[in-house]
Amino acid sequence: MLYTNLKHIETAAQLEKAISDNENVMVVCGRMGPMCIPVYGIAEDIEDEYKHVQFFDMEFDNPEAVVIRRLPEVRGFMGIPFTIYYKNGKVVKATSSIQTKEQVTTILNKEFGAPANKKTL
């Protein structure tokens, strides 16, 4: 069980539906652990800003998460969380281990586009 405020994915079928129903999806697949919690926190904090992206989590040790653990894009990953970015149902980016907000938003901006109301100094 992941104690986050993100939408949870519990089955492979739910993941399939999430990525087919939404153009831009970010899924953080991890545990309630030190490398994962900061990434969930970043997703929670930017969720309102990135309205064109759907954010989900999935428990790494859930047998159904095999659909993420077996992706070719995560071959060689040896650190959780596995964070997968899907565009139109296809994986466009995957990262391993803890990330900073800057690293996450750089990927989101590149793959899905910056939020329309994004302010810059």
């Binding site: 490398m35 994962c36 900061p38 926190g41 060689g76 959780i80 391993s96 100094l121």
Partner: protein, 314 residues
């Protein structure tokens, strides 16, 4: 132009020191804001079990952080996490902090508690193999290395204790340490030394990481002879201490040679109205309990400063 939001005190950093300062200040009816560049809780949330926090037998670091956060909020403290600080002006009577989204906050008192982050080796390949063979957390990533041969870098308590815990998974653990002796407590050294799966390479460090998709080998540099030896390994866990997150404070407050903020016993920096607490300050022991104590002292000293300032302005 955005309006500047006024506070009595701004705490930069939301680890145990910053959250404690927020609790004390808000409870004293000081209008307080905590600004945190990452997830609230700091290094504390990277700890699976805290068993030496007095009054609590054992608690997960994330849970303890959440309790502190709830406490601070309940006293009226405002909290902003995962923000980016674009600029700080700390030299004047009223200090101003501006975020990268343009929001600005000002206050006569500031407590700096930006914490620290795990030190990296900073050698070729380290960035490439992070999460692909290089890890900084045994509890998180240990099971990826089941029946594999791994290296642990470091010689303090974390390195030796995590090396022993990694023997649950790894078939062999080699500890690489830069000195000829360890800095850990005696019991940790003894436990590592007597473990049949652990061996040691002393007075050495890793000078490069190699591999294709994942880590395959490292170069081990003997610091005495300068000889470099290739060493096959499936993974490397790095536990070589922490560095203070004070890069954006250079030239603003007094820092020592290690980038730590220099403070007096009241945790005042060289700037009036600017205090510091937690892993960012020059000190010997870095524990949740010491951070909490410093958060308390900094908050009380800041309250006192605000009181004196108010009297002198009236």
């Amino acid at each position: 132009m955005n309006e500047v939001q006024q506070y009595d005190a701004i705490v930069v950093g939301g680890g145990p020191a910053g959250l404690t300062a927020g609790i004390y200040l808000s409870r004293a009816r000081v209008k307080t804001l905590i600004l945190n560049e990452g997830t609230l809780g700091g290094q504390m949330i990277l700890t699976h079990e805290i068993a030496n926090y007095p009054g609590v037998e054992s608690i997960n670091g994330f849970q303890l952080a959440n309790i502190m956060k709830k406490q601070a909020k309940s006293f009226g403290c405002d909290l902003l996490a995962n923000i980016n600080i674009a600029s700080m002006s700390l030299g004047d009577d009223i200090k101003t902090i501006t975020l990268s989204d343009g929001k600005s906050f000002s206050a006569p008192a500031v407590i700096l508690s930006p914490g620290g982050r795990p030190r990296t080796l900073g050698v070729p390949g380290e960035g490439k193999f992070k999460g692909r063979g290089i890890s900084y957390c045994a509890t998180c990533d240990g099971d990826f290395f089941t029946d594999k041969e791994i290296v642990v870098v470091g010689g303090g308590n974390s390195a030796l204790e995590e090396a022993v815990s990694l023997t649950k998974y790894a078939s062999k653990v080699t500890i690489v340490h830069q000195f000829d002796h360890f800095q850990a407590f005696e019991h940790a050294i003894e436990e590592a030394k007597k473990h049949p799966k652990i061996s040691f390479i002393m007075e050495s460090t890793i000078s490069a990481f190699h591999g294709e998709n994942g880590l395959e080998s490292v170069d081990i540099l003997n610091l005495k002879t300068n000889a470099v030896t290739p060493f096959k390994t499936d993974g490397v866990f790095i536990f070589i201490g922490y560095v203070a997150n004070t890069e954006n404070l250079k030239g603003m407050v007094a820092l020592n040679d290690w980038g730590e903020i220099v403070v007096n016993s009241d945790l005042e920096t060289n700037l009036p109205g600017v205090f510091a607490a937690g892993d960012c300050i020059a000190k010997r022991y870095r524990q949740v309990t010491t951070a909490v104590g410093e958060g308390t002292v900094a908050a009380l000293a800041a309250s006192n400063y605000l009181h004196r300032r108010k009297q002198s302005h009236s």
